[in-house]
């Protein structure tokens, strides 16, 4: 049986506007800080996996390597929509687990500040002659004419569908989820936005796609995060301090959505996540009740609600009651997105999958000071990307 893999060093940059730093600058900052945090250097790394979407074609992995230590190791340039960061980490984890390398470095980086609506496809120009084109034989652009596939629109429908199935869903409920995350972020100096927002402000802000207003959307910004992973055998040869701060990856899972009726008209983020969660809990030998904190993919406030159910943090169909009980606030029984989540901490796409792991590690190491979740020993980090992809990690504090 393959042995455990540990996070030895990890770092995330401040998320926000970084106009003076290019993509490689941000990646280098995160990578070098993660190496330093782990007490290792590029010379020890056996594999480099770099996630980036905006320049997925440009070999950011190799560009980064040239700036931080061009050692000739294998580089994987990783793209998996919003699950890119977790996929980059998974790539490094697999190499360690396979026994091919002792140490791996995974990085996620994105410059997205100022990017506008990320839509489901560019509208076609109105031609002078209608001609069926593509697999749907469309004569012109269909987004906006045949429903919508823009991200806010898709996730608004996903939230409303939960209400249709189980009831209890209102605009105000989703706004309250956003209120929680904006409140959490006031304690997080690395968040892109750390301003408290009242429920009235959130509900009164610009409507994007009912019931999602602007503050209920993930924040486009720049940022990077990186993690060094190490094999169990190698970790035992390192210093006591390195062993004490290492975080065990008890589960590292990636899924796509299996075919279900309707998956062609609305992204299935539910089965996608539930399957990943089941695999992860089994691999880690724990249940959701054992979690001390969760960083999940609140690309929109509506997404957070359905993921309470998908991650089995609550009984099936019980997400509304679960939220209303206060459980997911930082002082509740299951703190969710104490970082501020994607809505307030920000979502530089490829960085997010490693940044939310950083948040969990920060608490598991007991280093979160004034915002520490007391006694945190086990955490879960979850990202999803449309298409679909779900990256899920369960992390545990070292018992050294």
């Amino acid at each position: 049986m393959a042995e455990d893999v540990w996070i030895l060093g990890i770092h995330m940059t401040k998320f926000g506007k970084h106009p003076d730093k290019d993509t490689v600058d941000l990646a280098a900052e995160a990578a070098r800080a993660a190496l330093f945090d782990g007490g290792v250097t590029m010379k020890e790394m056996g594999i480099l996996a770099v996630g980036n979407l905006m320049n997925a074609w440009a070999g950011i992995g190799q560009q980064l390597q040239k700036q931080i230590g061009q050692t000739g190791i294998p580089v994987y340039n990783v793209a998996n929509a919003c699950a890119t960061g977790a996929t980059a980490l998974r790539t490094a984890v697999m190499a360690v687990k396979a026994g091919e390398v002792d140490f791996g470095l995974a990085v996620g980086v994105e410059k997205l500040a100022g990017a506008g609506l990320l839509s489901g496809g560019a509208p076609r120009q109105e031609g002078t002659h209608y001609e069926p084109s593509g697999r749907y034989g469309a004569i012109t652009g269909t987004d906006g004419r045949i429903g919508t596939q823009t991200m806010p629109g898709a996730f608004a429908q996903i939230g409303m569908e939960y209400g249709h199935k189980y009831g209890g869903v209102t605009f105000e409920l989703f706004a309250k989820i956003s209120e929680k995350n904006h409140s959490h972020s006031t304690l997080n100096p690395l968040a892109a936005y750390n301003k408290k927002m009242s429920l009235e402000q959130i509900m009164g802000d610009v409507m994007i796609a009912y019931p999602i207003t602007r503050p209920m959307c993930s924040a486009n910004c720049d940022g990077a995060a990186a993690a060094v992973v190490v094999s169990d055998a190698k970790l035992k040869t390192l210093s006591l301090e390195q062993q004490r701060r290492a975080i065990k990856i008890s589960a590292s899972v990636l899924t796509t959505d299996p075919w279900e009726e309707a998956c062609q008209v609305l992204p299935n983020v539910n089965t996608l996540t539930r399957n990943a969660a089941k695999q992860a809990y089994e691999k880690a030998g724990i249940g959701p009740e054992d979690l001390d904190l969760v960083e999940l993919h609140d690309c929109f406030a509506t997404a957070e609600l359905v993921h309470y159910d998908n991650l089995m943090l609550c009984p099936e169909g019980g997400a509304v009651d679960f939220f209303e009980s206060g459980a997911t606030w930082r002082d509740g029984s299951m703190p969710v997105n104490v970082s501020g989540g994607l809505e307030s901490k920000g979502h530089p796409i490829a960085a997010t999958g490693i940044a939310n792991i950083w948040e969990v590690c920060h608490h598991l190491r007991g280093e979160a000071s004034h915002r520490q979740i007391e006694g945190a020993k086990v955490g879960l980090a979850h990202v999803i990307g449309l298409g679909q992809a779900c990256g899920l990690h369960i992390l545990e504090k070292a018992s050294v």
Partner: protein
């Protein structure tokens, strides 16, 4: 493709004429349905498909009211998912006020068609949506 000459549907799965309706490619092995051309069935890997008619009436299972869209799309509009007797359809909900007071999940809707423009040859493009009723 049409009874009235000079019309073309927005997408090839919209069938025009006296009895407008939607059609899907149905896998002959497992009955999974697809609106787009497929190389093989995503559910069972089968590669034999036949046209199947989708029910014209259904229940609105999810919706959103989009306020911000690409420049050539008039807003607000209601986008939704309609359960047409077991086949899920993506469409706009039309002929109703685009407000939460006038649209709700669970409402009964039915297929309707309407012109979306005319090209330089005088051919009328026809789109579809679902309106309350049915």
């Amino acid at each position: 493709m049409t009874a009235a000459s000079g019309q073309i549907p927005l997408v090839d799965y919209l069938v025009l004429g006296d009895d407008p309706h939607l059609e899907a490619w149905e896998c002959q092995n497992c009955s999974a349905r697809y609106f787009d051309r497929r190389n093989a069935c995503a559910n069972c890997e089968g590669d034999t498909f036949a046209r199947a008619r989708v029910a014209n009436e259904g229940v609105l299972r999810a919706f959103t009211i989009v306020s911000m869209a690409a420049p050539d799309i008039p807003v607000p509009f209601v986008a939704g998912i309609i359960d047409c007797d077991g086949t899920s359809v993506r469409a706009n909900v039309v002929n109703t006020e685009p407000t939460p007071e006038h649209v709700s999940t669970g409402m009964k809707v039915r297929l309707t068609t309407f012109p979306i423009g005319t090209d330089d040859d005088g051919i009328e493009g026809v789109g579809f949506g679902f309106e309350p009723g049915g």
